[in-house]
Amino acid sequence: MHWQSVSATHVGLVRRVNEDSILDRPDIGVWAIADGMGGHSAGDLASQMLTEALGRMRAPPDLSTLVDFTEHNILAVNDRLIDLARFRHQVIGSTIVTLLVNGGHCAFLWAGDSRLYRFRDDALAQLTTDHSQVEQYVQQGLLSREDAQMHPDNNLITRAVGATEALFLDCDITDLVPGDRFLLSSDGLDKHVSMSDIADGLRRLELPRCARHLINLTLERGAADNVSVCLVEIVAD
């Protein structure tokens, strides 16, 4: 198997600075989206530090080593952001979602509410679970998933790089099948674009057109936040 990818980002229609950063490295099988926290200054610096650190990695021999290297780099950025925050007397943070491909499997690490989806067999699945206040409400049965989108706490995340000295990244793995399409996205997408809209785009469009389509849908619907997408397709040799 091999893979191809495409990515796109837009500042949106409300924010003046794009605090999202994208890493698109099919040559080493690593993709990431980092979303600098909107309420925190220097979020763009935090997200760029993450994607730059991951972009300096070399392709390791196996998936478990790739996971170790990726986590090590993210934790190192976390330490630097904590130090920087002390120096500047401000919190500097970012969400992160990564997709790591090696051989016939992939792993994904994440913190915060940037997401990873997989489109397989005409069905879209969200592979990550948001580290957010509303997700906790949903898990506790206090809020329906339908109501979560409109909840006043829907911008509160419970885990982020730079937020605390002890950062715990979530992690999972899955197999790869030719034809699988993965979507990494910042929360600027899912504020405006439903899973059925995402599935429709992934079903009908080639990767570059699909990326533009998802960004355009977000813009048509107000684009209240920065929006970033990274699409990865697994192709049979």
Binding site: L63, S64, N102, G104, H105, F168, C171, D172, I173, T174
Partner: protein, 71 residues
């Protein structure tokens, strides 16, 4: 199978039920076994706790009548 084990292990680490060294070692094992197509044994921390007797528990043989059996 291994997919959910890796996630459960990460959650156990986030909840500080295992230390970092154990987490890294067990995560590597689960990923390597999944890639090799081996059915993984759950990490011990994820196994359900064995039933235990408290120090005050005792075993009592009830009289047959009390169990509703005929003598």
């Amino acid at each position: 199978m291994s997919k959910s084990l890796v996630r459960a292990l990460a959650q156990a680490y986030a909840e500080q039920r295992i230390d970092r060294r154990t987490y890294i070692r067990e995560r590597r094992r689960l990923i390597d076994e999944a890639v090799a197509g081996i059915e993984s044994r759950p990490p011990r921390v994820l196994e359900p706790a064995a039933p235990t007797l408290s120090p005050t528990d005792v075993t009592v043989e009830l009289p047959r009548a009390a169990r509703g059996e005929s003598p």
